[in-house]
């Protein structure tokens, strides 16, 4: 029977990234995917005829340019179109727009509060400084604080050196930033309620935390440190939807000789004598491999597809306690035409970017309180986008595709999800949009409503957590997924982890996948095909 060099379980963007780098190093790699399509949560799906939904992840900005270049993803068809504005509708009929053009943005801030315009200059500079600091750690393996090996000591020294490039007060400012809530952090800069709410939103996306929860300021970075064509903080749409991201990586992987098998669900990782030997599929087939790499989240890997006896009890316990909470929902909507927002001037460019309907911190925090009590937010925070304005491949001519990310949505409301509750959740969101775009509901041809349950069932993300684990400060760096397991190696020899349960975490970044590949190639003493140098702009 054929023994593969490596098997990757799960064809998400990180699994494919790991697989591509291994294949480029000359390994014989097989990727197994339970669904009939590859991509995991980076997919484009035609769920309504003529429309392409990026029905899970929906924007592309965090994806590391080093990986894009190393895998030559441009040639494999990935094109990212920058998405440059964002806005918040106010309840009083006004709006706040954060424009790309810095002069217009400044004038817009002044329209709301003139002092905030100066604060924005300080804020932008500070955020950029933290982005630059953190970005240097993304494509590196965190040191293990329990290890005395020279390699870990060196990595700690590197971390310290980077931090000690900051001045003493910047060091304290960074710790404050790392541990503060986004609301309090922004209140140190801004005064206007709408501006505060507008810039807070990004920090709660995907997290089971509220705007006043300590640690959320840092999450802002996870949404701000991306770049498109060297433009730090810019967001982008992948042309053709998010499936184009996975498609391009898959294409690079297959070009290097790798194979993807869809419809192949893994039931068990086979371990013998503390060494991973392959996998057993749901249909009973056994596939052998010298290396097994799991793109599944930590809970699914250790508690689901591994035999309990193959995992040390301390790791099992920590995997059980790993915090991975579903907190988000999503609506993908086929529209008969472009909705009209009376608050905006005719032809405003703001509909091209992120649109939000939550204009105070209190509304954001109350939405969180609903979730804590296992209800969906009655007045949810949404990140609404209409990408078909840029990308004609997503909807038929004259029609539009709308993506609405919803924070918060419980993993399980009282009594569990059923069709009625799901529709009620969807209606809450549609009604909120309709309040700002009268007639909007009449344009809706089809709406796919997704709760954490759908995300878990389809993609396999535990509880439907979009980051494969909360991005709170207790689960970052060498604490991700937990201390002692932060170097992409599983508890058996030849077993590796490459999902975003690992450093540096979620978002369509590809960094965990590349880092895992580097560690595997290192153990196999193969040439390193992963990007070595962090490319700063």
């Amino acid at each position: 029977m054929h023994t593969h060099d490596a098997i990757v379980i799960g064809a998400g963007h990180n699994g494919l990234t790991t697989a591509a780098f291994l294949a480029k190093a000359g390994l014989d790699v097989l990727v197994l995917e339970k669904n009939a399509y590859a991509g995991g949560a980076t997919v484009s799906r035609e769920l309504h005829e003529g429309w392409q939904y990026s029905n899970c992840s929906y924007v592309c900005s965090l994806f590391r340019p080093e990986i894009y270049n190393a895998l030559d993803l441009g040639r494999h068809g990935l094109k990212v179109v920058p998405l440059v504005s964002s806005m918040t509708f106010k309840q009083n009929g006004d709006y706040f727009g954060s424009y790309q053009n810095p002069n217009i943005r400044r004038r817009e801030i002044i329209r709301h509060n003139h002092r905030d315009a100066d604060a924005a200059v300080r804020f932008d500079a500070d955020i950029l400084r933290w982005c630059r600091l953190i970005r240097g750690f993304l494509l590196r393996t965190p040191p293990d604080p329990g290890s005395l090996r020279p390699r870990d000591a060196f990595e700690f020294a590197y971390l310290l050196k980077k931090f000690y490039e900051l001045s003493e007060s910047q060091l304290y400012e960074f710790i404050r930033f790392f541990t503060m809530s986004i609301a309090e952090y922004l209140e140190n800069y801004f005064e206007d309620e709408t501006i505060l709410a507008h810039y807070s939103g990004g920090s709660i996306i995907g997290t089971g935390l509220g705007v006043y929860s300590p640690g959320t300021a840092y999450v802002l970075l996870h949404h701000a440190m991306g770049d498109v064509d060297g433009n730090v903080g810019a967001w982008g749409f992948a042309r053709g939807g998010m499936g184009a991201v996975a498609g391009a990586i898959a294409s690079a992987f297959e070009e290097a000789g790798g194979k993807i098998r869809t419809g192949a669900e893994v039931r068990r990782i086979r371990v013998s004598g503390n060494r991973a030997t392959g996998v057993e599929l749901a249909n009973g087939d056994v596939i052998n491999a010298k290396t097994v790499i799991s793109n599944l989240d930590i809970k699914r890997t250790f508690l689901d597809v591994m035999d309990e006896n193959d995992v040390p009890p301390s790791i099992l316990a920590r995997a059980r306690h790993f915090k991975i909470r579903g907190s988000s929902g999503k609506l993908n909507i086929a529209l008969d035409g472009m909705p009209r927002f009376p608050a905006l001037p005719e032809d405003s460019p703001l509909t091209l970017g992120h649109m939000h309907f939550t204009d105070t911190l209190t509304r954001l925090e109350r939405a969180y309180d609903d979730w804590k009590d296992d209800r969906w937010s009655a007045d949810p925070y949404t990140d609404t986008l209409i990408p078909s304005q840029y990308d004609p491949t997503l909807a038929p001519p004259g029609k539009h595709m709308m993506s609405v990310f919803v924070q918060y949505c419980p993993v399980e409301p009282d009594g569990g999800w059923d069709e009625t509750k799901k529709q009620a959740f969807g209606d809450t969101v549609l009604n909120q949009i309709n309040d700002y775009a009268p007639g909007f509901k009449d344009l809706v041809l089809h709406a796919e409503v997704r709760t954490p349950k759908e995300l878990e069932e389809e993609v396999g993300l535990t509880e439907g957590n979009i980051f494969q684990g909360e991005l709170t400060f207790d689960q970052l760096l060498f604490n991700r997924p937990f201390p002692g397991l932060s170097q992409y190696r599983g508890p058996a020899k030849g077993l590796y982890l490459c999902g975003s349960s690992n450093h540096p975490g979620g978002g369509v970044m590809g960094a965990p996948g590349a880092n895992a590949a580097r560690e595997i190639l290192r153990d196999l003493k193969r040439p390193d095909t992963t990007p070595k140098e962090f490319s700063d702009d």
């Binding site: 604080p145 329990g146 000690y164 001045s167 003493e168 007060s169 060091l171 304290y172 710790i175 404050r176 541990t179 503060m180 309090e184 209140e187 140190n188 935390l209 006043y212 929860s213 300590p214 640690g215 301390s314 920590r318 306690h321 915090k323 209190t362 925090e365 109350r366 309180d369 804590k372 009590d373 709170t472 400060f473 207790d474 060498f478 604490n479 937990f482 201390p483 002692g484």
Partner: protein, 494 residues
């Protein structure tokens, strides 16, 4: 002719007095001035009614430098419909056997974690860059205690939990909701935090620091012994003396101008009142760096705990508690989620619909507090500042309902009541926050109250801070005061 004072300490609260005592013991001539007519600050007593004296705002304390180990005080979590959960110094009763065992293991582990953090929790907080040798030693001791003291696996566990919230941690270990709620309350009380607020494991470890000295005990003897120590050391306490402003010349403090226009001159001034008032009001922003002043003004310090006291004609009967156990600390709280819900309200400036009540009967320890009856003293979470009088009476009714649910014969025994909201506490004690500032991560250690003044010295020469707003916070330990004294003495030598 001006009198000679070495150190002027402003505010005779727990930390002001601790600091003054340590300085006087080192031979300084110390005068401690207090704006109100009696020393104590939040630890000071007041009359709930004629002949009913509340000994202070706290219901419990841990042994400290000035308070020897006394009778241990259990925490009894009451249940209106059943048997209470009793958390003692070494065991817990009223829970399942699994929880009993889990609690013992849990406490042993977390006391070990607290002991490992001691270098950080006890002394002046180290700076992180350009630090003196002593700070390097502190950081090294900390690293050593964590790595070698705990061992690799326990260090991993420490790293995993230290940034977590107490809600998740408790759910990992226990089933009993009242036990979980009681521990969560210890983690959050005094702060505007709920059990689900990240960082509350650390606030709990912080509180557990006192437990290393001995079991929880009644605070009735705290202020008397502190005052006795101050007196023995030769501290002169002057009450009814308020400071109008500090005298600053050439960025050096030379004393204080009092409300009555008099001036007191001293070589050094230590402020036991909060940093915002000390620096922004009494010093004045014209003497401060603009960014430093901004940081200070942004210190988060909302008072969220009310105090409620009742003068009782006789000893009430507490459900599930026998008459010999009335000297303990009682909690009224149903479950962990109830604590979080109670916290939710205060975020929006409202008082909790189902407030959490922590109470004790101080007259059991000291009968002289209420010779003609008994006294019930309670802290109530969560209550914001700015309540209207209608809100206040509605809140009082809710507190009474909570108490009534576990003390069915309460109403017939009440002679008088007194509710102090954070506004009232502010007026009485100068501040409404237990620690003069949230003990959140970004306001802890070398960032407490703000960096630039975290090692007790301020940018003004000769002016120091020693209040609970400094590291390591309040809770009747007096550590901030003792630490400040060390810094003041070191400064005086040079």
């Amino acid at each position: 002719m001006t009198e000679r004072i070495d150190v002027l300490v402003i505010g005779a609260g727990a930390n002001g007095l601790s600091c003054a005592t340590a300085l006087a013991r080192a031979g300084r001539r110390v005068v401690c001035i207090e704006a109100t007519d009696a020393p104590g600050g939040m630890a000071g007593g007041f009359d709930c009614a004629d002949g009913f004296r509340v000994p202070g705002l706290a219901q419990w304390c841990y042994p400290s430098d000035h308070t020897p180990i006394g009778e241990p005080m259990n925490t009894i979590v009451l249940d209106p419909d059943g048997e209470p959960v009793t958390i003692g110094a070494d065991s817990v009763q009223g829970v399942s056997t699994e929880d009993e065992t889990a609690w013992a293991d849990f406490m042993a582990r977390y006391l070990a974690f607290t002991a490992a953090l001691q270098p950080l929790l006890d002394g002046p907080p180290p700076r992180l860059k350009d630090f003196p040798a002593a700070d390097r030693k502190t950081l090294f001791r900390l690293a050593w205690k964590l790595r070698a003291g705990l061992g690799r696996d326990e260090m991993y566990e420490f790293l995993r939990v230290v940034g977590m919230n107490i809600y998740d941690l408790l759910n990992e270990h226990f089933d009993n909701e009242r036990l979980k709620a009681a521990i969560a309350i210890d983690a959050v009380s005094g702060n505007a935090m709920g059990p689900r607020t990240p960082g509350t494991v650390l606030t709990w470890l912080h509180r557990l620091r006192g437990r290393l000295n001995g079991p929880m005990q009644s605070p009735v003897n705290y202020l008397p012994s502190l005052l006795a120590a101050a007196q023995a050391a030769g501290v002169e306490i002057r009450c009814g003396v308020a400071v109008k402003r500090l005298l600053i010349d050439n960025e050096t403090v030379s004393g204080a101008e009092l409300a009555n226009g008099e001036q007191l001159h001293a070589r050094q001034v230590v402020s036991g009142i909060d940093a915002k008032t000390t620096l922004l009001e009494l010093t004045g922003t014209r003497h401060l760096d603009a960014m430093f002043a901004t940081r200070l003004s942004q210190v988060r310090d909302p008072g969220v705990v009310a105090h409620y006291s009742l003068a009782l004609a006789e000893m009430p009967r507490i459900r599930g508690v026998d008459s010999r156990s009335t000297g303990h600390r009682f909690l009224i709280t149903p479950d962990l989620r109830g604590v979080e819900r109670a916290f939710n309200a205060v975020k929006y400036g409202e008082a909790s619909a189902a407030p959490i009540v922590e109470f004790s009967l101080p007259s059991v320890q000291d009968a002289s507090l209420s010779p003609t009856g008994h006294l019930l003293s309670a802290n109530v979470l969560f209550v914001p500042a700015g309540l209207s009088s209608d809100d206040k009476s509605a809140l009082e009714q809710r507190i009474r309902d909570q108490l009534q649910s576990v003390i069915p014969d309460l109403n017939s025994k009440v002679r008088a009541s007194c509710l102090l909201t954070p506004d009232d506490i502010q007026a009485r004690c100068g501040h409404s926050h237990w620690h003069h500032g949230e003990l959140s991560l970004h306001q802890s250690l070398m960032m407490r109250p703000v960096y630039g003044a975290a090692q007790y010295a301020t940018p003004i020469d000769g002016l120091f801070l020693c209040s609970a707003g400094c590291h390591p916070g309040g809770d009747l330990g007096g550590r901030a005061g003792a630490n400040a004294a060390k810094v003041v003495l070191a400064e005086g030598r040079s």
